[in-house]
């Protein structure tokens, strides 16, 4: 498979720029992977191979790093990302019920993307909004003091 075919030309140029910017700095792998995920929305296999080749590191090492951290995804992600907080404060204030309700509403498991590609549902531990527990973050907006009944209303905004 030729690279430019599946990865857009513009995106590839951006990726190359990032590789150039970081490759001579100490510890370049994680910043480049973060940039790649920002560009593509996830880490496509072709992009991983490309980064490994450009940096002259074995692809296995790149995958080793990428699979270690929760931030990186190898599957395309939905248009909106929901982070459902399961931190301690959210847990004791019913965070699990909120997650269950979202799973039911969106018909996905945590970590998956809805069929229509609108939402990716993620389970996370603490988004630091403990005073508003139970809380979720959709993209960059936090919603606090949720109840199972309010879930539909929040999702309806997207």
């Amino acid at each position: 498979m030729k690279l430019g075919n599946t990865l857009g030309k513009e995106q590839l140029r951006e990726l190359d720029e990032a590789i150039q910017a970081y490759k001579d700095q100490p510890g370049p792998l994680i910043p480049i992977l973060q940039k790649a995920q920002e560009i593509f929305g996830y880490l496509p296999l072709e992009a991983m191979k490309h980064i490994a080749k450009e940096l002259r590191v074995p692809a296995s090492r790149l995958f080793g790093v990428a699979t270690f951290y929760a931030q990186f995804s190898f599957k395309p992600r939905g248009k909106h990302t929901i982070l459902s907080c399961q931190g301690t404060a959210c847990h004791v204030r019913g965070g699990a019920k909120i997650l269950e309700e979202m799973k039911r509403e969106l018909k996905v498991e945590a970590g998956d993307t809805t069929q229509d590609g609108r939402f990716t549902l993620e389970k996370v531990y603490c988004i630091g909004c403990c005073s508003l527990a139970p809380a979720i973050i959709v993209d960059e907006t936090a919603y606090g003091k949720l109840t199972p009944e309010r879930v539909k209303e929040v999702l309806g905004k997207y």
Binding site: A70, A89, E101, R104, Y125, G128, S131, E149
Partner: protein, 622 residues
């Protein structure tokens, strides 16, 4: 930039607390909690409303003042009048405040939370800010500027003596004297382990090798903790100043801040603060006309709890899998790229400027024999006043939860308090008079930790809490050492079957034995402390766990497999609310027909129990 220039900025800059005649300053709390409660819309409404009404003045933003439960918070400052703090100011409350408080010179009493008289005669019916029960027992050192300056303005930081500790260290003190001062203050690492900061600095200074590095751990991963986020959002320059002083003391010229990607607001303010400090020459070459040069870079974390462990954090900065390694050698001897490295967390660094400015004996006048100074805590869970506080060490847990925290939500009974996150423990009511102190908490089986305090009430199941922490730690174990990787999973499995009513009589003993071996034999702090929540649950709430096994009963009525919901036909008035709200369509009934829960369909979410009007209270748990 010279010290004289710094002095000029301090003299000419006004914080938003000072207002010119005929002007009004509106200050909106714009930290993450505030924004999540709608502060951005509130801020915009004030800007629009003031413009439309022709009110001259300015709208400012500030960081976290700590009262997250009252957000969005807005302060109105006018010359000759007390500064008034309004609570829960949603965008639709703005017009009335503009009209009645600012234009008419009155007060919207029902929304006013507190006042600072500022030399004017106090308003009647509004408590003084410092006398609010939430504030009166607090002692703010780290948080002293949060909520009182614009975190995005370096001038306001300088106006409140910012960077003068750095100036003092560089011009009047040798690096050794700085270390002595920090050592003498008794400051201990605020990330959780509590190692004396001065000793760490001295070891790094004395270690052979160059260059040396300064690292700031801002990978605040403990669930239930947001102290570091609040400091970075509310007063980012204090962290930079602390790092600069550490760099001077240790002989390092390069620094990294390792910060969680989950904190976008904090990262943005930090980037801005670094850029401003560089522009002023406070970060860069030959700082304040001396030989000292220093550079600070940000490294973004990528979502791994174990990276809060110092050796794992260093591996992550180096671009590797964030796995810890055995110590010694400690980072002070062999850290980043094998060079001597000093790692402290956000709160530790942000204590340093105050210590250098006011001296070691001032700092050590707060706190207890072994634990000096103050500690920032996030008080959350089933407590009325949930937010960010800073208290002198030695304060009792009871004071934190009941005086500052205002007691338990809905006045339910207190059951337990969890400190130290997944590395700490749960403490029962009998220990509420325990002072907050490194040694005392450790004796009780918990730890100080980074500062999360999660309050639990009678409706919290302690077996479920123990399982909860293991869900977290076993999924965050990096997998390098066997006791942590395998052991935590086994512990989780045992607790899971206990919570599901399938436990066996030997389970409790097995849990304890596993917990002790994991503590003794794990490689890093994650595994060595992960059994703490379980051990303390077994120590203080053993009967409750055993009830799940011997009676197949969850006394707190939480574990779904051990409870069911029923509707009392005598009490049900067939109002239909529960039927409409039930997400699983598990309630049958019709207008005027008594409702019934179809147990096969019920997902035990408890919605019916919560929505049934209290005047009926027809839904009950068995």
């Amino acid at each position: 930039m010279t010290v004289a220039d710094l002095e000029k900025i301090r003299k000419r800059t006004r914080t938003f607390a000072e207002v010119k005649a005929g002007q009004v300053h509106v200050v909106v709390g714009m930290n993450t909690c505030g924004i999540a409660s709608g502060a951005r819309e509130t801020l915009q409404s004030f800007r629009d409303g003031m413009k439309r009404r022709g009110i001259s003045g300015k709208v400012f933003q500030t960081g976290c003042i700590g009262m997250c439960f009252e957000e969005p918070l807005v302060d109105i400052i006018q010359p000759g009048r007390p500064r008034v703090t309004y609570r829960h100011v949603d965008a639709d409350k703005v017009e009335r405040i503009l009209e009645e408080h600012i234009e008419a010179g009155g007060l919207v009493e029902e929304w006013a939370l507190a006042q600072f008289p500022n030399g004017a005669s106090p308003l009647e019916g509004v408590p003084l800010y410092g006398e609010l029960p939430y504030n009166s027992k607090q002692q703010k050192i780290v948080l002293r500027k949060c909520g009182f300056i614009d975190p995005e303005s370096i001038d306001q930081y300088i106006a409140t003596d910012g960077y003068f500790a750095l100036a003092k260290a560089l011009s009047q003190m040798t690096p050794e004297q700085v270390i002595e001062e920090v050592l003498g203050s008794g400051l201990r690492g605020r990330g959780g382990a509590g190692f004396p900061t001065g000793l760490k600095w001295r070891a790094t200074r004395q270690a052979p090798g160059s260059p040396k590095y300064i690292v700031c751990n801002a990978d605040e991963g403990d669930p239930g903790a947001f102290m570091d986020r609040s400091v970075l959002e509310g007063d980012p320059h204090s962290v930079l100043e602390g790092m600069l002083i550490a760099g001077y003391a240790i002989g390092a010229q390069e620094a990294y801040i390792y910060v969680r990607a989950e904190y976008p607001v904090a990262v943005r303010r930090l980037q801005q603060a670094i850029a401003q400090a560089k522009e002023y020459g406070l970060i860069g070459e030959r700082i304040l006309g001396t030989d000292f040069s220093f550079d600070v870079k940000i490294k973004m974390g990528a979502g791994a709890f174990v990276c809060g462990e110092e050796t794992a954090l260093l591996a992550s900065i180096e671009g590797k899998r964030g796995m810890p390694r055995p110590r010694p050698p400690f980072p002070a001897q062999s850290g980043l790229w094998g060079k001597p490295t000093n790692i402290n967390n956000v709160e530790t660094y942000s204590n340093v400027p105050a210590i250098v400015l006011n001296g070691a004996s001032w700092y050590s006048s707060f706190g207890t024999e072994n634990s000096k100074g103050t500690k920032v805590f996030c008080i959350t869970g089933k407590v009325k006043n949930s937010g960010l506080i800073e208290v002198p060490m030695g304060i009792k847990l009871r004071e934190v939860i009941f005086d500052i925290g205002g007691g338990i939500l809905q006045d339910r009974a207190f059951k337990a308090v969890q400190t130290g996150g997944p590395s700490g423990g749960v403490l029962p009511e009998s220990l509420l008079d325990l002072p907050v102190d490194y040694q005392e908490l450790a004796k009780a089986g918990s730890i100080m930790g980074s500062g999360g305090v999660v309050v639990m009430d009678e409706t919290t199941c302690m077996a479920d809490v123990a399982r909860y922490f293991l869900t977290f730690t076993q999924s965050e174990s990096c997998g390098k050492c066997t006791p942590c990787r395998e052991g935590l999973q086994r512990m989780y499995q045992i607790l899971d079957r206990i919570c599901k009513g399938k436990g066996t009589p030997s389970d409790v003993d097995d849990l304890e034995e596993l917990a002790r071996s994991i503590k003794d034999s794990s490689l890093c702090g994650l595994g060595q402390t992960a059994p703490n929540p379980v051990l303390t649950v077994l120590r203080y709430f053993r009967e409750e766990v055993e009830a799940h096994i011997s009676q197949r009963r969850c006394p707190a009525g939480v574990c779904p497999e051990l409870i069911r919901y029923e509707i009392d036909p005598q009490k049900c008035k067939a109002c239909g609310i529960c039927r409409k709200k039930c997400p699983a369509e598990a309630i049958e009934g019709a207008p005027k027909a008594i409702h019934r829960i179809i147990q096969e369909k019920c997902v035990k979410c408890g919605t019916c129990y919560e929505v049934c009007p209290t005047k009926f209270s027809a839904v009950y748990k068995v």
